[in-house]
């Protein structure tokens, strides 16, 4: 089972480190990362294997959003199926 983690906000040092550390603690495995800087704007999208997480995905999503707030970023965690449904036929 996979989730997509999206991190957006103003660029600064240590964003990837912080998010990766958090996901590792939750036993989520990062499988793919795509990251760009547009001006001062940081955008990162990760594909994460969540089969090993101990909590419900909705709880992890809430905690990630909270962690994002602490580092001044907007962090979304969503089941990959929503993107497959909306963007693939």
């Amino acid at each position: 089972m996979h989730a997509v983690v999206t991190v957006t906000g103003k660029d600064k040092k240590g964003i990837i480190a912080e998010v990766s550390r958090f996901l590792a603690e939750k036993n989520a495995n990062i499988e793919d990362i795509s990251q760009t800087i547009l001006g001062e704007y940081f955008a990162m999208i990760m594909l994460v294997d969540i089969s090993g997480i101990q909590e419900e995905l909705s709880v992890l999503a809430k905690e990630c959003a909270e962690m994002g707030k602490q580092i001044g970023m907007s962090v979304h965690v969503q089941h990959e199926d929503i993107f497959n449904a909306m963007h693939n036929i």
Partner: protein
């Protein structure tokens, strides 16, 4: 596989363009709850609704958290209550209040189905049931009521139309402290559908399975935003863009509907492809029409754009979902759409134009405040006009007007929340009393004889 632009587009739709699943509605059959007395029936109804929909609120919260899409309303629709109270119609309010209690226990937003289907004739028990609607709506909070008075196949039951004018007036009187709020929970249909997830008109048809999940998607803001990116496109491209956007929105609804029905142990009913506005800015159907090129909704050209919008939404949505149903189209409730509210306030949209718009979109004269002094026969005549449009055009039409007690044209009614606020709009003053007092049945049109 999706790419990063797809991901960011979805997130933008939710964060900036008000994409949401407007409602998960569980349809529950109450036919197994009929007992010898009203009290026993009310108890059975309360139990079955609480049991079947026990997890609907939690499941909606889980799905919303997992997929990152807000699910705004959790609702239940039930078998038309007139059918299960046929043996004791005067005591139907007992069942109505039991349903309202169940809605509170479950924590759901609305429960629909205090309804009667009288499109060909009103049975004695139905006539008595209809008379209980005002009191029931005045003594409940989350219960919604609907009455089907006509169909393309059977014609229009004008006796019921006359009675509904009086019932709407009485409902307004009994809820006058809240500007006639009861009328916002009462809708009169022609060609009512049995799987509609939207309120106030949802009920669980007798042709439906025992327990089903119907999902209503929304997203006028997403469509408006998509159109903003093509300001100079011709109308072929505009229609195509609406179609593509509707496809994406509906796919989200389809996914949620499938998951929700699985988790709740119910059948997947339908996805209703409706563009349902809210009073929030950026979530308006009127704004889409204006984005296409109107100075204000209500001016000449409104009907044409609405027809195109309604059709494109259906075409995109049908492709995206395995089971489409409900009302499926664009809603034009006045008090629930900021663009409509502003046009009504400025006198730029009239009831006559709204009536014309209902010929080409789903539903009808919806959430319109009129003067409290409007006569019952005038309200009945409005219902008759809408029912005629529905009957002849083989589509659902409805009337949900609020004759706000003590309020005159230009004054405001305010219902709060998703029901919104609206200025009192003028109606024609010439009487239709004689027409309405004739009663009888307006026969079905010739093109209904298809057998």
């Amino acid at each position: 596989m999706f790419n990063k632009f797809d991901v960011l587009e979805t997130i933008n739709m939710v964060e900036k363009e008000h994409l949401d699943i407007r409602t998960i509605t569980m349809g529950i059959s109450l036919l197994s709850c009929i007992r010898a007395t009203a009290k026993e029936t009310a108890d059975a109804v309360y139990d079955i609704v609480c049991k079947k929909a026990e997890n609907i609120v939690k499941t909606a919260a889980d799905l919303s958290g997992e997929y990152g899409i807000p699910i705004v309303n959790k609702r239940v629709s039930v078998t038309p209550v007139s059918l299960i109270t046929a043996g004791f119609p005067e005591e139907a309010p007992l069942i109505g209040r039991a349903l309202d209690r169940a809605a509170h226990t479950l924590g759901i937003d609305f429960l629909g189905g205090y309804s009667a289907l009288v499109h060909k004739g009103t049975a004695d028990y139905e006539e008595k049931f209809l008379r209980t609607i005002p009191e029931t709506l005045a003594t409940t909070e989350r219960l919604c009521s609907s009455v089907n008075v006509g169909s393309s196949k059977s014609g229009i039951n004008m006796d019921a139309v006359r009675q509904m004018g009086e019932i709407i007036k009485e409902t307004a009187r009994l809820t006058e402290k809240n500007d006639g709020l009861g009328c916002a929970k009462l809708v009169v249909f022609c060609n009512a559908v049995e799987d509609n997830p939207f309120m106030a008109g949802a009920f669980h048809g007798v042709g439906e399975a025992d327990t089903v999940i119907n999902v209503g998607v929304s997203g006028p803001g997403v469509v408006e935003h998509a159109l903003k990116s093509i300001p100079d496109a011709d109308l072929t491209e505009v229609a195509e863009t609406i179609k593509r956007t509707a496809f994406k929105i509906t796919r989200a609804g389809q996914l949620i509907a499938k998951e929700a029905s699985q988790r709740l142990g119910a059948r997947f009913g339908i996805v209703d492809l409706s563009l349902a506005p809210t009073p929030a800015r950026g979530d308006s159907v009127a704004a889409i029409l204006e984005e296409v090129g109107l100075e204000s909704v209500g001016t000449h050209g409104t009907t044409a754009i609405l027809a195109m919008l309604n059709d494109a939404v259906k075409k995109g949505g049908v492709m995206a979902s395995s089971r489409v149903g409900g009302l499926s189209g664009a809603f034009i409730p006045v008090s629930e759409d900021i663009g409509m509210i502003e046009a009504a306030e400025a006198g730029k949209i009239t009831l006559d134009k709204l009536e014309a718009m209902t010929c080409v979109c789903s539903v009808g004269l919806d959430m319109i405040a009129i003067s409290g002094s409007t006569s019952a026969s005038t309200i009945s005549a409005m219902i008759a006009d809408e029912a005629a449009i529905g009957m002849v055009n083989n589509k659902t039409t409805a009337v949900r007007v609020i004759p706000a007690p003590g309020k005159k044209v230009g004054e405001w009614v305010n219902f709060g929340g998703l029901l919104g606020r609206a200025p009192v709009m003028p109606v024609h003053e010439s009487s239709a009393e004689k027409f309405i007092s004739r009663g009888g049945l307006i026969p079905a049109p010739i093109h209904s004889f298809k057998n």
